[in-house]
């Protein structure tokens, strides 16, 4: 089943005493690809693009996550996206790059609660603790490629392409209930 972004409203989607899954408010998502000296893009975006895979950078409400040697995901409030794109267009002549608005492609689930890490192990082959607080990664979650941002010891954001969202939400909902049953 495909799920347009409008299928979910930002709210708590699954909750128990030990873990919670909610939907984040929409934001602008920009996919950036570039190689070489990144200084012009850093100046345009007002932040230093991290160069180690998994590292993040933040400036105000804009965030960048390094996904690959030449690839980043940028999140920002929707009102700032047009300005960021215009600023990057300005430096295209000095540093050719690809900046694509993918805001309509995915939704973000916010995972928190004392057993959020255990909830992740349900679909994640790698150890969630191999991702440090303040970092992020593109990972495999139950066969689906997702972005995982670790905001705290037990606080995560998961960006999911919306066609996969109902499947993953169902899986996470099951996990939230199962972990609560274990605790009871």
């Amino acid at each position: 089943m495909n799920a347009p972004i409008s299928s979910f409203t930002p709210s708590v989607l699954a909750e128990s005493a030990v873990a919670r899954v909610s939907l984040a408010a929409p934001c602008a998502r920009l996919s950036l690809r570039a190689r070489g000296d990144l200084a012009p893009l850093n100046a345009a975006l007002g932040l230093t693009l991290p160069t180690r895979i998994g590292q993040r950078a933040q400036s105000g409400e804009s965030q960048a996550l390094c996904l690959g040697p030449d690839e980043w995901m940028l999140h920002a409030p929707e009102t700032l996206a047009a300005g960021m794109q215009a600023a990057c267009d300005e430096v295209y002549g000095t540093l050719p790059h690809s900046l694509v608005d993918v805001s309509g492609r995915e939704v973000t689930f916010v995972l928190d609660g004392p057993r959020a890490v255990d909830l992740l192990t349900l679909g994640m082959p790698r150890n969630p603790d191999s991702i440090a607080v303040g970092e992020g990664r593109r990972i495999n979650f139950d066969g689906v490629t997702v972005l995982l941002w670790r905001d705290g010891e037990t606080a995560f954001r998961m960006d999911v392409w919306h066609s996969f969202a109902p499947h993953l939400l169902h899986l996470l909902g099951t996990g939230v209930a199962e972990l609560a049953a274990e605790a009871a």
């Binding site: 996904l67 690959g68 082959p125 790698r126 593109r138 495999n140 490629t145």
Partner: protein, 100 residues
């Protein structure tokens, strides 16, 4: 599950994040029209299929997305090394030294 070291992420991660992508170091001829049918067949279809160390491509699909090369023993499934795409083919004796 196999654990595979991604030379771009510099992390050793579960096989489920990776996809296999065939034999490595198969080089497309500069001038395909200059090839004989036999040479072209060799390029397209003929692969080594060794019993033992095999130079092969993998892709960190659910991760950095990069293709890279690996030397894997097809008998033990042990990865002898992984290295970035475009890096020279490592010498086999340097990889197997520690195993003897």
């Amino acid at each position: 599950m196999l654990l595979i070291h991604c030379p771009y992420c510099e992390e050793t991660l579960p096989e489920a994040e990776f996809t296999y992508a065939g034999q490595a170091h198969v080089i497309r001829p500069e001038n395909p029209s200059g090839q004989t049918d036999d040479q072209w067949e060799e390029f397209l279809f003929i692969r080594a299929n060794p019993k033992g160390p095999h130079y092969e491509r993998w892709r960190h699909f659910h991760g950095c997305g990069r293709f890279f090369n690996a030397v894997r023993d097809t008998v033990s499934d042990k990865f002898l090394t992984t290295y970035k795409a475009g890096a020279p083919r490592p010498d086999l004796s340097s990889l197997t030294e520690g195993l003897k």
